[in-house]
Each structure stands twice: as structure tokens, then as C-alpha cells.
Amino acid sequence: MTVTEVKPDTTRKIPEHPKSLLLRMDRMPHIWCSRCGIGITVGCFASAMEKTGLSPDDITVTSGIGCTGRVAGYVKADSFHTTHGRAIPFTVGLALTRPDLKHVVFSGDGDLISIGGNHFIHAARRNQNMLVICVNNFTYAMTGGQLAPTTPVTARATTAPYGSFERPFSLPTLAISAGASYVARWTSLHIRRITDSMTEALQRRGFRFIEIIAPCSTIYARRNKLGTGLDLMKYYYENSVIDHNASVDDLDIGFQSKIVVGKFVDKDRPSYGKSMHEHFRKVLGNKYQPPVSGKMEIDKSWSGCTESQDTTVTDEVQS
């Protein structure tokens, strides 16, 4: 066996960024435009990972397609870039086969709520075990600024040159009505609040949802003549009202209107996995063999594998 000597990186003259253990600094600068709000939310996520004390090995991050859809590629965890709208179903698979890990979906409003909208409501309804972080910039930014299901009435988009007249979704309302266990909304300048929410939500189980209203400086701000990304980020912050007990009727967002933010839901409801195990234990008794182990079990009948595999029943089975 040959041992290769690891040479120190002599090109680096200054100490490393403190988040370099959690983010892929070798891939910086990232693709996001100057003054885009997405980068700040990724910094908050890294701080939250740090605060939970979880090892990056215990976390998966999955994104769909879009500007925000690039987040997974910059997080130093097991990260996955899936097809458009499919980050949630991909993560359902991860959550059911690896209940021992923390699963995070990090994507945009178009990806999660438009093409992926059905997955979103059903994962919330079933309380699938994942934290969904949605950066809402009110448009399909990556493809040039088309109308999204979140675009506020009268805001302009390439496909709504005279302004939108459709009623947009309020994402927390959608998550709450579908049954999510944890629902919060902040704007991208609420750095400490976002970090605290992410830290808290990472430690919960079931379907957790955090919406972050963030500026798209290049597309949305410019087309709607809202100034720079900095102006828009400040505007969102200054026009936000913290109300943890807000009713769902208050959560709608108009064009440059006030934005009600806060932690709206934080409750304990059995996750999909837990309900499944409880149900089958009850109806099948001893005949029920929990299908999932701490590590993904290889089903011998599918893989043609004849050797005996070690299977252990883990916590999600109990929890």
C-alpha cells in the first residue's frame, strides 16, 4: 500500500472561514447574483447546523431546480440535486429508509409549490419526517422571472407584463391546512430568528416548514422597479410584523404589503413512519415485522441476494 503525503494548502494565506466545515467553500463563489437573498439563508442554515451540534454526516439536504435549487450543492452534508419539483418525494424515500438521519429540503417557491405543490401538501398531510425550507422570491427567477403561484397581485412578471391578477398562495396557510407540525415565516434579514427557527425545527420530527421571504435582486426587483436587493431586503424587514398567533387570514402577502412573520405552528403529531408502525403493530400483532432498519435494509427478494443481512430495528420504529 502506498501512502500519499497530504501537502498543506500553501495558496491559502488567511485563516479559513468558520463555516468551512459545513459549506463547500471550494465551490465559491456561488452562482447567486450580487445582493440576492439566498446566500444569507444558507449562512443561517450553517449556523443552525452548528447550533444543533449535529455532524454533517447526520444531515441530508435535497434541492429541486431553480436558483434556490442550487443550495444543496453548497452544503457539506449528503446533498442531492433532484429534478424539478421532486425534492420532497425524493426526501420521502430518504426519510423512510434512513429514519436515523435529519432530512432537509431546501428549494424555491416555484419548485416546491408550483410543479411540486402536490408533493408538498401530501407530505404535510402525512407528516413525513422532513424539514422543508422554502426561499420565496415571488417569481421563477432562474428561468427569467415568470409568474409563480406566489407572485403578489399587481406585481409584474415576464408572463404578466401588465401585472398579475391571480390570487397567490400563502405558503404557511397551505402548510398549516395540510397539517404540518411546525410552520414559521421570516424575511431574509431576520438572521437570528431564521437561525433559531431552523435550529429548533431540525430537532423536531414530522413535517416542518420554514418560509423565508427573500429579494431576487436581478429579476423580480428590477422588473418591478423596487430598487436594489438591499433596498428590497430592508423593505421586507421593515414591513414585517411579528405575530406568532396570527390567524391564517392574516398571512396573505400583497404587492409590497405588510408581511406577517412568526412561528405559527409547533405541535407534536405522530410522523408517517410512527403512525405506520403503530397501526400495523395493532392490526397484525406479532406477525408485523417493521420493514426498516437503521441502515437501509436490502430486500433479498428484490436484489437476488441470498446471504443473510443484519437487520436492526431502530428508533423511528419506536419514535
Binding site: 494565506k13 472561514h17 463563489p29 450580487s34 445582493r35 444569507i40 443561517c44
Partner: protein, 95 residues
């Protein structure tokens, strides 16, 4: 010095000077957004006139002695291009 009410100002920001906060800027990673300059509660930074490799103006530390190591620049930078370290962190993260 830009005053901001976007962040909780360190309660003793006016009085206490943290002796061991050093600000580092990775110039070529910066996209010149100016967030750090805008929100630093102590006016430590300005955008320089110098261009980096991508044609942006990275920030420059003009008042290193005023820095209170509050880490706000680090947390608000969307590019992970600026950070403030104390003596222990400098040793820990040394190149």
C-alpha cells in the same frame, strides 16, 4: 457611520473594544453587495475602489480598532467572503 436598527447592537458596542477581533476578507469571493458595510454597527468597513477578479469592489477595513467582533458582517455576507475571528479562532482556522 451608518446606524442600523436591523440587528441587535451589542449592548456595550460603544464602550468595549474587543481587543482580539480581526476581520478577514476573501476579496475574490466578494460580489460587492455592500451588506457588510451597511450593517456593521461600528463603521469598520467601506467598499474599496479596488476591483477584484470578477470586477466587484470588495470591502476594506478602515477602522480595525473599532471592531467589536460581533460577527454581523460574517452572518450577513451572502458570499461567505468576510468574517471576524478572535485569537483562538485564528489559531484553530490557521492556513
Amino acid at each position: 457611520m451608518p446606524e442600523s436598527n436591523y440587528w441587535r447592537k451589542p449592548f456595550d458596542a460603544d464602550k468595549v473594544k474587543s481587543p482580539d477581533g480581526t476581520v478577514y476578507v476573501i476579496k475574490d469571493r466578494c460580489k460587492g453587495c455592500g451588506f457588510c458595510v451597511e450593517f456593521c454597527p461600528r463603521g469598520v468597513l467601506v467598499l474599496s475602489t479596488e476591483f477584484n477578479r470578477k470586477g466587484y469592489h470588495p470591502p476594506e477595513v478602515i477602522h480595525p480598532d473599532r471592531c467589536v467582533n460581533c460577527d454581523l458582517c460574517e452572518r450577513i455576507c451572502p458570499e461567505f467572503a468576510i468574517y471576524c475571528l478572535n485569537q483562538e479562532e485564528i489559531i484553530e482556522l490557521a492556513p
